[in-house]
């Protein structure tokens, strides 16, 4: 039997127990030893395919922990270039100023864990490519930085029946929720409409506390791992809010809306069309 890895170098490794190499047993020992994970759980992780939309602040921490845990395939979508101003919070891009964020993220993952296959999409996530990209994955992490893209990701996930962790941050506050297809509320059920233009300051106006995307992005990664492993309670129907100044969490319950435009009883949105997502101005600091 082949070990649970995805490159030829590792496949030539010595299989010492079941289908794991000795290196894999050492690498993942602290999670294999967890009663809820075990070898079976580790195999699920190595077989899983997760898409991270945005390799910015939220994406950086999500990518780092998903790769470390041995998620077998990581898709990464971003069309930005690494700038020095990113490095205060986008922790995987050190030393890569001027490089595309997808390539920089790929280098980071490869240096961390060669079990992980990285698929990069150096393009803007839009109506034309949304369904095609999302379709290939088991779970989606929304680390985008504007409301239009949050709605686009949500609608594509609802229509493609994919679970998604949505995260968002600004200044010292962030929130995170998980949507499960055909169960509980989607992002549009919770946030029916985006706030009026100008109400939410953009990243340059408002700033962002550097650790904030680390905390929220890590919660998103935790949701992915629990979903793949089939353990614990997800943030489905729950909006978890965090304030780093108060160092407080609070939770708001959310329910599915019958009049939701995409998952309601009579949805207006039945396919992804760019006209529904024209306003892509960055208003938050996911990236």
């Amino acid at each position: 039997m082949l070990p649970y890895c995805r490159n030829e170098e590792m496949r030539s490794g010595i299989i010492v127990s079941g289908s794991f190499t000795d290196e894999q047993i050492k690498r993942y020992s602290r999670q294999i030893i967890l009663p809820e994970v075990g070898g079976k759980g580790q195999k699920k992780l190595l077989a899983s395919k997760v898409l991270v939309l945005g390799a910015g602040g939220l994406g950086s921490s999500a990518i780092a922990y998903l790769a470390a845990a041995g998620v077998g395939t990581l898709g990464i979508v971003d069309n930005d270039i690494v700038e020095v101003s990113n490095l205060q919070r986008q922790i995987i891009h050190g030393g890569n100023i001027g490089l595309s964020k997808t390539k920089s993220a790929e280098y980071f993952v490869r240096s961390l864990n060669s079990d992980v296959d990285v698929v990069t999409y150096q393009e803007r996530f839009c109506a034309d490519n949304a369904g095609k990209i999302i379709r290939e994955y088991d779970f989606v992490v929304d680390g985008s930085d504007n409301f239009s893209t949050h709605y686009l990701i949500n609608d594509a996930c609802v229509l493609e029946k994919k679970p998604c962790s949505h995260g968002s941050i600004l200044r010292y506050e962030g929130y995170v929720t998980t949507t499960i297809p055909q169960k509980g509320p989607c992002y549009r059920c919770i946030f029916k409409k985006p706030p009026p233009p100008g109400l939410i300051p953009n990243c340059q106006e408002a700033g962002v506390f550097g650790v904030l995307p680390g905390i929220i992005g890590t919660i998103q990664a935790s949701e992915v791992l629990k979903y793949v492993l089939g353990i614990g309670e997800l943030l489905a129907g729950r909006l978890l809010c965090f304030n780093a100044l108060d160092m407080s969490f609070f939770e708001a319950g959310a329910e599915k809306r019958k009049d939701c435009a995409v998952c309601g009883d009579r949805p207006e949105i039945t396919k992804i069309e760019q006209k529904n997502y024209l306003d892509n101005r960055p208003e938050e600091c996911g990236l």
């Binding site: 010492v16 127990s17 079941g18 020992s29 294999i32 009663p35 075990g38 070898g39």
Partner: protein, 73 residues
């Protein structure tokens, strides 16, 4: 059929990780003989096996520096 897992030369926590992985491959009710060369590792592995709900059928020193655990999955 009783399987054997020789963990002499292994250290914690890999002794239990490898035990756990081998047990996952066995049918429920099947026995596994585990050989270890450290008394502390022997105590740790047997305690962890019990905590995960397995039954220790036998635990003994079979020579001056080798211990044997027989566990039922």
């Amino acid at each position: 059929m009783t399987e054997e897992l020789d963990l002499r030369g292994e250290v914690c926590p890999y002794t239990f990780v490898k035990t756990k992985l081998r047990l996952e491959e066995l049918e429920s009710g099947q026995d596994l003989i585990i050989l270890l060369d450290d008394s502390v590792a022997t105590a740790n592995v047997s305690r962890s096996l019990r905590s995960e709900g397995h039954e220790i059928l036998d635990l003994k020193a079979i020579s001056g520096e080798v211990w044997q655990i027989v566990v039922k999955k």
